[in-house]
């Protein structure tokens, strides 16, 4: 990939990701905020591609965009009264929250100015999928199994919570 194409792609994708995030913050209608979240998630998947993590990009699109975002949109449609347009969007914490964010940004900027990171390693030609699979079933076998248990627990818990209570 030529250099300037990469640079332009990076700035475009990063801009889209941040715009999507700002949409989540500012859209009045929560459904629009959810669509904006999907845009941001897609842009993050593109960032993964730019970083040479194609498998992760695929997982991101499948799980986040395909499952989590759709679930969130469903929940919005199940709970929101569309007619109530003039509902207050924000809690009263807006000003203190903005101050917290500014402090966070200042600290990170200070750290980022001082830290010297090595340049990025070149992206290998072949994908990293088989090495990922090896690691997952050797070094990270225990977290892998624990996560499968966690998913099972979440599955059962969500069904129990969302089921209609039957009176008897």
């Amino acid at each position: 990939m030529t250099d300037w194409i990469y640079i332009m792609a990076f700035y475009g994708v990063a801009g889209v990701a941040l715009l999507g995030g700002l949409g989540v913050l500012f859209f009045r209608n929560l459904f629009h905020a959810g669509l904006s979240l999907i845009l941001s998630l897609f842009a993050v998947a593109s960032l993964f591609v730019l970083l040479g993590a194609e498998f992760l990009a695929g997982v991101q699109v499948l799980i986040y965009v395909g499952a989590v975002a759709v679930l969130i949109l469903f929940a919005v449609m199940l709970t929101q009264r569309i007619t109530a347009r003039r509902v207050r969007r924000y809690t009263r914490a807006l000003v203190p929250a903005a101050l917290v964010i500014l402090g966070l940004a200042a600290v990170t900027a200070l750290v980022m100015v001082r830290v010297e990171l090595p340049p990025m390693a070149p992206i290998p030609e072949a994908g990293a999928l088989d090495e990922l699979a090896d690691l997952l079933l050797s070094t990270y076998l225990l977290p892998f199994e624990v996560i499968s248990l966690l998913l099972l627990g979440a599955l059962v818990g969500a069904i129990v919570l969302a089921r209609k209570e039957e009176r008897r």
Binding site: L51, G52, L56, V59, I63, V68, P96, A97, L161
Partner: protein, 103 residues
């Protein structure tokens, strides 16, 4: 002029800040969940960036973000089920209307 790892980390920090702002200020519980997803995504970007910095032969960062994505999916599912249950019993999902436990 090239793209350094700091560029990616900068995007990650900005995205994290926006997500945190959403979490701290949105009134709707589902909006707060969206903010959490944004923050988790920002962390994933940072993880993959550092994975790339420390060479193609170490993939631990990518695996970590794989785990983060999985846990985020579980968290979203349970969180939304909780929100649905609250909506069914209370008729609202605005977090500052749920203040029974306030002293």
């Amino acid at each position: 002029m090239t793209i350094t790892p700091l560029h990616f980390v900068g995007v990650s920090v900005l995205l994290f800040g926006v997500g945190l702002l959403v979490v701290l200020t949105r009134r709707n519980a589902i909006g707060i969940l969206m903010g959490i997803e944004l923050m988790l995504n920002a962390v994933n970007v940072a993880l993959v960036t550092f994975d790339r910095v420390y060479g193609p032969e170490r993939l631990d960062g990518q695996l970590f973000s794989l785990f983060v994505i999985t846990v985020a999916a579980a968290e979203a599912v349970v969180g939304l089920a909780l929100i649905l249950a609250i909506y069914r019993s209370r008729g609202t999902v605005a977090v500052d209307d749920l203040h029974e436990l306030r002293g």
